[in-house]
Each structure stands twice: as structure tokens, then as C-alpha cells.
Symmetry: C2
Subunit: 157 residues, 2 copies
């Protein structure tokens, strides 16, 4: 268990940022294939992927979406946030071994607790791989929450 | 291994549809937590989730996004599609045990192989839980591909 303190709507400031860094491992691509059902060989088969325009295995685009959603839900605004919407533009492929930096920024505080946020993802070369915006309902009050352990998962038979 | 035949840009027709049906199991929520890192108790802790406005465990919003992306990548247009963008609007929570129907529809064929698609998700009551649109680059030519097996995954220590 770990504790996470969220940001209530009234605490959020325009320009406030959070970031999440994550190296993309083969394990992530395999897990994302298992949970989504997307078993395309460009993600799972190194030999096939080498013959494509990507010249190697790439992560599922929506894996970056999953990281953005986790950064929102666990960091900014954090637990208690309600996810209303997300726009994603996938501008570059994410390769196995890339280190992604998800950057969140509060863009606008709207009525009734709504917040518009920039959601950008960069690779280790500083190239933007995903651009987009999230629309969320921020928590009404600050809260410190016990977070359950992330489930242990084993891949393979 | 299984074989999947995609739809090339020239084969796609306005109004063409595909659907994917999926029951949301506790396992899906645990896997999505593991791959995204979002370990919020509203997803993972039944006791805590019962005290929230959702009155029970809910799936991560972006899990629906993952199913949409899989339906695009595996069915319509299928393998070889390049995912350019996705808008998602989360209108209702998805609960454990819900059966989701992801519906794709070709809305517009644009120049240079680009296709705009409606991406809608409904629950077993026919209520729409996600609305949105995808922007994709359809495959240039029809192709039948060997799809790798979905990785076997075990949850727990």
C-alpha cells in the first residue's frame, strides 16, 4: 500500500504540471495485447515487425493513452478525479525500449469542477509522440488515499 | 495463430460497420491496472468502491479506449491500419460484469488514405458509455495476416 494525496478543484492552478516517466518494455506490449485483445504482429512479433515501415516492434498507440489516464488518476488531479474525455493525436511511433515522459498541464478551470488539461507524451529524444487534451471533473475536496498494490502479473505459460 | 484479412482503403465504404463484444471481468481491471500503473481503489478495492458514487468497482475509462483500438487494429480496417488519432467522451461508468459492445462505423473517406470512423461503446442495457471518433490511415492493399497468439497472463503471486 502507498498513500496518494490528490488536488481538489480549488487547489488547481493554471499551468500546474505533473509528469510520469516510463520505459516501454516488451512486457508492457504483451500485457497491453492481452488486456485489449490487439495481437497485431507489429506489436508482438519481432521478426515481422522488422519488415514493416517501423523497422521493429512498436507499442500500441493506446498504451500511451493508458499512461496518460494513469497520470491523471494517480497524480494530477489524482484519486477521485472523474475522467470525462480525452483527445489523442498519435504523431510518432513508440518503440520497445523507448522511455516515455507523460506531461500533464492544467490549461483551464471551468465551472462546476471541470478542468481542461494538456496531455503530451515525449520520447527519450524529446520528440513528441502524442498530443492531446483531457477533460476531467476534479475532486471536490483534498483527500489522502491508500492505494492498493498494483496486481502482480506473470506472462507466459 | 489465427488469420485476419484487413480492408484496404479502396474497399472501405461509408456506413461500413464492425463490432466487438467483451464482458468486463475483474481480471481485465487488474491487468489494466498493471499495464497502466493506475491502481486507484475504485478499480481494485471492492470494499472501497462500494462507498463511492459508483457503488462498486468500475473499469478504467481508458480500458474502453483499448477495446476501441483493438477493434480498429484487428477488424476494421484491421492489420496494417495506422492509428492517427482518437477522441473519447466517457459518458457512463463501466462496471465489473458489464458486457460492452464496441461499434465502429466508417464515417468519411478522406484524401491520402485517411478515414474518419465513429467509435461508440454500449453496455448490456444499450446505454452508451463512450462516444468518439477515430482518425486512421487505412491499409493501401488488402492483406491476410497470421496473428500471433495473445500472450498468456497469470495474475497473482
Amino acid at each position: 500500500m502507498s498513500q496518494v494525496t490528490n488536488f481538489a478543484y480549488e487547489q488547481l492552478e493554471i499551468g500546474q504540471r505533473a509528469e510520469l516517466i516510463r520505459r516501454v518494455e516488451a512486457r508492457d506490449v504483451q500485457l497491453f495485447a492481452a488486456v485489449s485483445g490487439d495481437n497485431n504482429p507489429v506489436h508482438l512479433d519481432a521478426e515481422y515487425a522488422a519488415t514493416t515501415m517501423f523497422k521493429g516492434q512498436i507499442a500500441h498507440g493506446m498504451f500511451s493513452g493508458a499512461l496518460i489516464s494513469a497520470a491523471i488518476a494517480c497524480q494530477l488531479p489524482g484519486p477521485g478525479t472523474i475522467y470525462l474525455g480525452q483527445n489523442l493525436s498519435f504523431s510518432r511511433p513508440v518503440k520497445l525500449g523507448d522511455t516515455l515522459r507523460v506531461e500533464l498541464e492544467v490549461l483551464e478551470k471551468q465551472p462546476k469542477g471541470r478542468v481542461r488539461m494538456a496531455t503530451r507524451v515525449f520520447n527519450q529524444h524529446g520528440e513528441q509522440v502524442v498530443d492531446g487534451e483531457a477533460q476531467v471533473l476534479a475532486p471536490r475536496s483534498a483527500q489522502t488515499l491508500e492505494m492498493p498494490a498494483i496486481p502482480a502479473v506473470t506472462i507466459g505459460n
